[in-house]
């Protein structure tokens, strides 16, 4: 299992001043490579805590085991929302946490 960075979604946090995922990582293992693209620098240091995924405003990071089934999370005001997305079709399920109030959008499954 690993964190992947979806380069088509990542804008390098151009509006935020700092790379949010790199700044939040408890293991300090997200950094730009020589092409200035963000990469996981030491896989063995990743705890799969998903702090980077949760902080990304563009859903550009995900936890995955096959590169196609993506687990994405976003903390909203009431609770953290989770999304299981299957690529390439983009079919997805929202997982409603027990603390959540209303559903976020009409298309959510589960």
């Amino acid at each position: 299992m690993a964190i992947i960075i979806l380069s088509d979604r990542c804008d390098g946090c151009s509006k935020h001043g700092e790379k949010r995922c790199a700044s939040i990582c408890p293991s300090n293992i997200l950094a730009p490579d020589k092409h200035r693209e963000l990469v996981v620098t030491a896989e063995e240091g990743c705890w799969e805590c998903m702090a980077c995924v949760k902080t990304c405003p563009r859903e550009a990071l995900a936890l995955t085991y096959d590169g196609r089934t993506l687990l994405i999370a976003r903390p909203l005001k009431q609770a953290t929302w989770w999304k299981l997305e299957r690529q390439p079709a983009g079919k997805h399920y929202f997982i409603r946490p027990a603390t959540a109030a209303p559903k976020p959008s009409p298309d959510c499954g589960h």
Partner: protein, 562 residues
Amino acid sequence: MPLPIETVHTDILVIGGGTAGCMAAITAKKLAPRLRVTVVEKANPTRSGCLAAGVNAINAYLREDGSAEDFLQYIRRENHGLVQPSLILTLASRLNKVTRFLEEIGLPFPKDKHQRYIFRGPRSIHVYGERIKPLLSRQTRLAGAELIDHVVITDLLVTPEQRVIGAAGFSLLRPKFAVFYSRAVICCTGGASGIYPSPGRSWYPPANRGSGYAMGIRAGAKMTSMEMRFVALRIASSMAPTGTITQEIPLPHRNAHGQEINLVGLTTSERLAAILRQEQQTGAPCYLDLSSVAPSQWMKTLTSYLDMCPSFFLDLATAFPSLKPDRLLLAASEPYLVGGHGMAGYKIYPDRNTTLPGLYAAGDVAGGMPKKYVSGCLAEGEIAAESTIAHLLPPPKEHPEVAKRAFQRAIASLASSSGAKPQELHRELHQIMDLYAGGKSSGYELKEGDLKLARGKLKDLKDKAKKIEARTLPELLKAHEFLDCLEVAEVAVEHLLYRRETRWPVYQSRKDYPTRDDHRWLVILNSSRDPQSGDITIEEEKLDKQTSGGMMYGDNYTVRPL
């Protein structure tokens, strides 16, 4: 790379912005609002340490009719008799209070219709704890403490009179070496992963590399019970906790032949041993039988894993949302040293002071108080802050020569160009510990001859590590993480050699002394390393029987054959 030195004077320095560290800072500011309280954290305190992903249960919470004395008896049994009642009782009385504090700062807890917390096990309540760390760090800021992120503390500053006057380390964000002078230091770092190799996802955070232990060992502080390793029984692959399911619904543990394994009446380490024995006999992993779990119940359990271990959810994602698996394979982790589950850590006293004046310890880095978990770490942070303020020493004078020594040690590897890479050296450490000091691949078993080999090989590795090379700040972090693991491993090996009995199966299991010997070994082992000579001395400490009514462990407990 030039590293300018920046000096900071503060009143109380907290090392580590995790559970215990945040609580220590919040308490200190509450008691003494005019004092300057500084928390230094090597990552970002919003999501760092053991609770980076969150937590779905508070595992040390006492029922209304449960007393601190009951908690003590529970730990006495679980710990096979080695307990320090004064540490346990001072903490037990605060567990419920600090849990309510979590609710006060905004963490949601499920409640029953009488607005009471919902129990999951005898001492465990449910919590929707995904946001515990953002809330705790926010509260730390609101309390007025200053949080400094991405600064890696490498050494405590100790005067020739052995008083701790601060700490020093380097920043990961910009070339800078920070020297903190303070009236007291509260060490609240995590335990140690990375002593033994991890075959997949680590049970304990890989960022917690035992740095808090290592800086204490180098400073000459006493460590306790470093032979009590902790090995977790987990769900294979994701290393997710089994308790989330089994505390809720009593599920059978079965061996590969489908036979139920009787675990009734066993302690945690005995249960682990029983399961590993079945695995050995059948040649295949044991499993949790989920056939009796209703699908609706399963969905609730699955989502509660998202609050703590999202990997588990994703592991089952191919089946989502329609299917429930029939079984979950079990696996044992590699050994760790961690004071929140086991007893390894700083030798502390009821006030959470260490053996060095000016230095306190709380949370996973503090020894002698096992099974404290999240609420215990909060309680310990609170006690440490209260005692720190009650016994605050005057502000220390600057000691440039002490700071300079810390600086030189911190950056030594930046100057080297011999090519000993931190990752390569770390792999060598893993190999030594795994093969000769009871790692997973050697069945966790320890033997005197092997341990002596480990001792020699670690010494050679330490010589080799003098030429460790780092070119960038992230590499410098890796270099220090390796050096800290090595420091801790050396002390652990001495402790493992010293205890010539088997106190806890799997955790500390001597092939050459396979039985528990309460007559000889009902003692706590403390060690210290002479900062000058580097020699490690171990001393035995008699159990503190006063507050336990003098009852010996062996009096009411018999060993069950597995």
